[in-house]
C-alpha cells in the first residue's frame, strides 16, 4: 500500500496512453479458449505482453471485463498454497468495486498472463498486489469515463459501487455488463497503461482486509482440482527416468534391449539421460527396472558425509570473496569491553518435501511445446525449455496449475524438461512425477551452514562489538536488528557437497537461529535476562511491539520464574522481508530419554496492513509448525554421495501429535505498505526452542536440528 495514493479524489488523473508502445495483443486462439466470451483483441504479436512489465503494461494485460459482467484478472504468480489466488482476486475486486466472487483469476499461463517473475521472496504482497490494484483501479476509471462520455457529463460527478456506475444527479445507472460489449472499451483497455488513479485507503477497504477463502477451495475438498501431477492429455504416456545411485556417479553403460522390447514402451537415451515412457506408471517402472539392472556406473569418491559436513564447509569457506558489512571497528569494540563471548552454530541440510513432488506433462504440436508443471518460476521455465530444445521462446507455453506446495523448493523445472524430452521422441504427451525418493535425493536442499558469532560486552551489560559470519547459507536476515556500535557481518560461500537452493526464508532460518541463540548466551554472560537484554539493544519500534506483545500474552516474565530442568521457556524475535516476529515457547525436556517436546508457541507477527486475516493466520500457524521440524528433527543424512534417509519414514517432519498449543497474535499496522507473510514467521521458532532448553538445562544449543540425544543424562 502506497500511502501517497490514498489522499486524492477518486478520479485524479487520466490513464496514460501507451503512445509509441506496440499495440497490446494476445494470441487470439489461446485467449478464446481461456476466457470464453469477453473482450477480444486481435493478434499481431503474442510476445508484446511478456516483454512489458509493471506500470508499462496495458490494463488489458491484467483485467478483462467479460460480457456477463464478470471480471477476469491475470497474474504471472503461482498458487502453491500460500494464498496469492485469494489475495490477488481481492485486490482486483476491491478496486473494481465488485464482490470477490465476480473475479476469476488466471495465474501462471505464459501465453495469457504477464511475466510477474518468480513466486518467491514474499514479493507477491508488496509488489503484485499493488500492481493488480492499480490496474483494476485504472480499469474502473476507464469504465467510468466511458459511462460519462455516453451520458455526456463530467466523470467526477459519478459514483461507482457493486459494479454499477451511478449518476447521483438523476439516479441513472450503467452496469459493467452494459459496458462490457463496447468495442471502445476494449480499445481503451488495450491502449492504456495503468494510471496513478487513487486506490482505496485501508480504512475504506471492503474486500481487502477480509478473510476471503481461496477461490477454488471447493475443488480441493471434492478432488476436482487438477494439480500438475493430475494433468491428463489424450494419448498420454507415463514417464520414469533412470537415476544415478548416488551423487558423483555417471552412467558408463546400459543395455536397453529388454526395455525396448517391451510392448508400448518408448525408451529415450541421450547422454546421461535415460527415460522410459509407457501407458502406465507401473509399466514404465517395469521397463526402468529391466534396464537399471544392466547399468554400470562410474563413481567419483564423495568423501563428505553429514558427520564431516561442517568441518568441510569451514575448510572450504571462500573467505577472500566474503560479502562483508562493517560498521565502526570490532577490534576497538572488543578492546573496550571487559568480556568476549564466542560460539559456533551449525545448520543441517533439510528438504522442503512439498506433498506434491516435482511433476509435469509435456505435449508437442509440431515445433510448439506446452508444459504443465509444478514450478514457481513459469517464465524462467519457459526460457529453460526453449533453450533446451533450441526453439523460440514463443514456441513454448508453460502452464502452472495450482500446485501441491513449494516452500522455495520448486524454482526449477526438471520434470518438465524430462517429460518434454520423452514426449518429443514418443510423439505423444508424456507425464513425469518424481517419486518421493527422487524428490528427497535430486531436488535441491536448504543450505547447511556454519555460523560463527563473537560478541563483546561492557561491565554495564551493553554490547560493544558483534562479529557474525555465515558460511554457506547466505545473507538473508544476516544484519542484526540490535543497536551495537561496532559490527562486522559476513556471508561467505563454500563448497556444498549436495545440490542446494532456496527455502522458506532461506538463510534467515539459520541466521536468526544463531543470532537469537547467541543473544541468550550473551544475556547470561551480561547477568541480564533475555527480554531485558534484547530491549536494551533494540530501537526498531515494530520489533519492540511484537516482542512485547508475545511476552505479555505468554506471561513470559512470570513463567520464566518457574523454569525447572524439565520445563523451559524461551523467546526469540527477528525481522526479515519488512515484517517482524517474536515467539515465546514452553518446552518439556526429558533428559533420561533425550526427548524434547514443544508444549506451547505464542507468536506475534506484524506485516503491515492485514490483507486476509484467515490466510495470514494459516501462514503463521504453518510457519510455526514447519519451524518445529527444522528445529527438532529434520536433517538430511548422507554418506558416499548417497542420501540415507530419502523418505518420510526416515526423515521426520511434524505430524498431528507434534502440534503444540499455538497462540497466533496478528498485529495490524495500516500505516505502512503491506509486506509478505509466508516466510518470516518461521524464523523465531527454532531459537525460541533452543533458548527454552538453554534456560532449563544450561546446555548451549548450537545446532539445527537441536540434538536432544546430547542432553541425555549419562
Amino acid at each position: 500500500m502506497d500511502k501517497g495514493k490514498h489522499q486524492t479524489g477518486r478520479f485524479s488523473t487520466s490513464p496514460r496512453h501507451t503512445g509509441t508502445l506496440p499495440a497490446f495483443t494476445l494470441p487470439r486462439r489461446t485467449f478464446l479458449q481461456v476466457l470464453g466470451s469477453g473482450i477480444l483483441i486481435t493478434v499481431t504479436d503474442p510476445l508484446a505482453l511478456t516483454q512489458l512489465a509493471g506500470a508499462t503494461l496495458p490494463v488489458a494485460a491484467r483485467i478483462h471485463l467479460n460480457e456477463d459482467g464478470t471480471i477476469t484478472a491475470m497474474s504471472g504468480k503461482v498458487e502453491e498454497g500460500q494464498g496469492p489466488r485469494a489475495e490477488l482476486s481481492q485486490a482486483a475486486a476491491e478496486e473494481l468495486r465488485v464482490p470477490v466472487s465476480q473475479v476469476r483469476l488466471i495465474m501462471a499461463d505464459t501465453d495469457v498472463v504477464p511475466d510477474d517473475g518468480i513466486t518467491a521472496g514474499s514479493r507477491t504482497t508488496p509488489r503484485n498486489v499493488p500492481e493488480m490494484r492499480q490496474a483494476a483501479a485504472t480499469a474502473r476509471e476507464l469504465l467510468t469515463q466511458l459511462a460519462a462520455a455516453q451520458w455526456k457529463i463530467d466523470v467526477r460527478t459519478l459514483e461507482v459501487s457493486d459494479g454499477r456506475i451511478r449518476n447521483p444527479a438523476n439516479g441513472q445507472v450503467m452496469t459493467y455488463v452494459d459496458l462490457a460489449k463496447s468495442k471502445d472499451l476494449a480499445k481503451r483497455f488495450a491502449e492504456n497503461t495503468q494510471s496513478d488513479v487513487a486506490v482505496a485507503p485501508v480504512a475504506e477497504w471492503k474486500v481487502l482486509g477480509q478473510s476471503v477463502r481461496r477461490p477454488n477451495s471447493r475443488d480441493l475438498v471434492t478432488g476436482g482440482h487438477r494439480f500438475p501431477s493430475d494433468i491428463v492429455r489424450p494419448d498420454m504416456l507415463y514417464g520414469m527416468v533412470l537415476r544415478a545411485p548416488s551423487y558423483g556417479t555417471t552412467l558408463a553403460s546400459i543395455d536397453l534391449s529388454a526395455a525396448e522390447a517391451m510392448e508400448d514402451v518408448v525408451v529415450v537415451r541421450d547422454g546421461q539421460f535415460v527415460g522410459f515412457a509407457a501407458p502406465s506408471t507401473h509399466w514404465a517402472e517395469q521397463a526402468l527396472e529391466a534396464a537399471a539392472k544392466t547399468a554400470s556406473w562410474r563413481t567419483e569418491p564423495q568423501p563428505v558425509s553429514n558427520s564431516t559436513l561442517h568441518a568441510h564447509l569451514k575448510e572450504h569457506a571462500n573467505t577472500e570473496r566474503a560479502r562483508t558489512d562493517v560498521k565502526g571497528s570490532v577490534e576497538r569494540g572488543f578492546s573496550e569491553g571487559n568480556q568476549v563471548v564466542s560460539a559456533t552454530y551449525t545448520l543441517a541440510y533439510i528438504q522442503h518435501a512439498p506433498m506434491e513432488p516435482r511433476a509435469a506433462v509435456a505435449e508437442w504440436s509440431g515445433e510448439k511445446l506446452t508444459v504443465w508443471a509444478g514450478c514457481d518460476n513459469p517464465f524462467r521455465a519457459r526460457r529453460t525449455l526453449a533453450e533446451e530444445f533450441s526453439i523460440d521462446t514463443e514456441q513454448v507455453r508453460v502452464i502452472i496449475p495450482d500446485m501441491g506446495g513449494g516452500f522455495g523448493g520448486k524454482h526449477t523445472v526438471e520434470a518438465g524438461l524430462e517429460a518434454a524430452r520423452m514426449a518429443k521422441r514418443a510423439g505423444r504427451p508424456v507425464w513425469v512425477r518424481w517419486t518421493r525418493e527422487e524428490e528427497f535425493t535430486w531436488a535441491y536442499f536448504r543450505p547447511a551452514a556454519v555460523i560463527e558469532c563473537k560478541g563483546g560486552l561492557r561491565t554495564d551489560g551493553s554490547l560493544t562489538a558483534w562479529e557474525f559470519t555465515n558460511i554457506n547459507a547466505g545473507g538473508s536476515a544476516i544484519e542484526t536488528p540490535y543497536e551495537i556500535p561496532n559490527t562486522r557481518i559476513a556471508s561467505v560461500s563454500s563448497d556444498s557437497p549436495l545440490r542446494q537452493g532456496s527455502y522458506r526464508c532461506l538463510g534467515a532460518t539459520g541466521n536468526n537461529f544463531a543470532r537469537e541463540s547467541f543473544m541468550d548466551e550473551l544475556a547470561t554472560a551480561a547477568g541480564s535476562n533475555p527480554l531485558d537484554f534484547r530491549m536494551a539493544h533494540l530501537k526498531n519500534e515494530r520489533l519492540r511491539v511484537v516482542l512485547k506483545a508475545a511476552t505479555d500474552r505468554f506471561d513470559w516474565s512470570e513463567r520464566r520464574k518457574h523454569i525447572t530442568p524439565e520445563l523451559g521457556v524461551g523467546l526469540a524475535c527477528g525481522t526479515e522481508k519488512n515484517s517482524v516476529v517474536a515467539a515465546c515457547v514452553s518446552v518439556e525436556i526429558n533428559r533420561n530419554r533425550g526427548k524434547i517436546r514443544v508444549l506451547e508457541v505464542c507468536e506475534a507477527f506484524e506485516c503491515g496492513p492485514i490483507l486476509n486475516p484467515g490466510n495470514l493466520t494459516s501462514q503463521v500457524q504453518g510457519c510455526i509448525i514447519m519451524g518445529l521440524g527444522g528445529a527438532l528433527t529434520e536433517e538430511i543424512q548422507f554418506e558416499n554421495g548417497k542420501i540415507l534417509n530419502p523418505g518420510f519414514s526416515r526423515y521426520r517432519v511434524p505430524r498431528f501429535k507434534d502440534v503444540p498449543k499455538i497462540d497466533v497474535h496478528l498485529i495490524n499496522n495500516p500505516d505502512i505498505p503491506a509486506a509478505g507473510a509466508g516466510e518470516t514467521p518461521i524464523i523465531a521458532v527454532a531459537p525460541a526452542i533452543g533458548n527454552a532448553i538453554f534456560a532449563a538445562t544450561g546446555a548451549h544449543i548450537r545446532s539445527m536440528p537441536i540434538r536432544g540425544d546430547l542432553l541425555k543424562k549419562s
Binding site: 502453491e80 498454497g81 500460500q82 494464498g83 478473510s211 477463502r213 481461496r214 477451495s217 471447493r218 480441493l220 475438498v221 471434492t222 478432488g223 476436482g224 482440482h225 487438477r226 494439480f227 501431477s229 493430475d230 491428463v232 507415463y238 502406465s280 506408471t281 507401473h282 509399466w283 522442503h352 518435501a353 512439498p354 506433498m355 506434491e356 513432488p357 495450482d402 500446485m403 501441491g404 506446495g405 516452500f407 512425477r433 517419486t435 518421493r436 525418493e437 484467515g614 490466510n615 494459516s618 500457524q621 504453518g622 510457519c623 510455526i624 509448525i625 514447519m626 523418505g647 518420510f648 519414514s649 517432519v653 511434524p654 505430524r655 498431528f656 501429535k657 502440534v659 499455538i662
Partner: protein, 160 residues
C-alpha cells in the same frame, strides 16, 4: 500374467485386467481417471493416497490392485451427494482447513472414517487418528478445527 479384478468405485461397477502387482493408487488414477487420490510417498507414511475400502481406510500406494477385488472403493470424488458436500468437506471449507490442498483428499476420507468410529473424539483422539497424515503446509491446527466442527455437525444431524 494379468488378472481381472472386479470392484465398485464410488457406486459404479468396474472391471480391470492388469498386472496383479500394480498398485490400487495407480489404477484409480490412471485407469479410472480419478485424480483426487494422490501420490505422496509410496511407503504408506503420508496418507495422501488414502481411500475407503468397504468403509475402511486403506493406503492405496502400498496396496496391489488385487486387494480391491470384490470390494467397494470410495475415493474423494465419491463422497459428496451430487452438489451436496459431506459434513467433513463442508467443515474443511468453513474452517479453511487447506493451504495447497494436496493432502486434503486423504485427510477428509480419514476423518470420515474416524468420526464414523468415534463420533465424539477428544483432541488427543483426533491427533492420534490423523497422525498418519502429513501436511507440509503444516495446516494441522485448522484441520483439527475442521474435524471438531464436522463432529459437531454430524452429531447434531444424527440427533436431529
Amino acid at each position: 500374467m494379468d488378472v481381472t479384478v472386479r470392484l465398485n468405485v464410488n457406486g459404479v461397477d468396474k472391471t480391470i485386467t492388469t498386472d496383479p502387482q500394480r498398485k490400487l493408487l495407480d489404477v484409480i488414477r490412471e485407469e479410472f481417471r480419478l485424480t483426487g487420490t494422490k501420490y505422496g510417498c509410496g511407503e504408506g507414511q503420508c496418507g495422501a493416497c488414502l481411500v475407503l475400502v468397504n468403509g475402511e481406510p486403506l493406503r492405496s500406494c502400498l496396496s496391489p490392485i488385487t486387494v480391491a477385488d470384490g470390494k467397494s472403493i470410495m475415493t474423494i470424488e465419491g463422497l459428496a451427494r451430487g452438489d451436496s458436500l459431506h459434513a467433513v468437506q463442508e467443515a474443511f471449507l468453513e474452517e479453511e482447513a487447506m493451504q495447497c490442498g494436496y493432502c486434503t483428499s486423504g485427510m477428509i476420507l480419514s476423518a470420515v472414517a474416524l468420526l464414523r468410529e468415534n463420533p465424539n473424539p477428544t483432541d488427543e483422539e483426533i491427533a492420534a487418528g490423523m497422525n498418519g497424515h502429513i501436511c507440509r503446509c503444516n495446516g494441522y491446527v485448522k484441520v483439527m478445527n475442521a474435524i471438531r466442527h464436522a463432529a459437531n455437525t454430524l452429531r447434531s444431524e444424527s440427533h436431529g
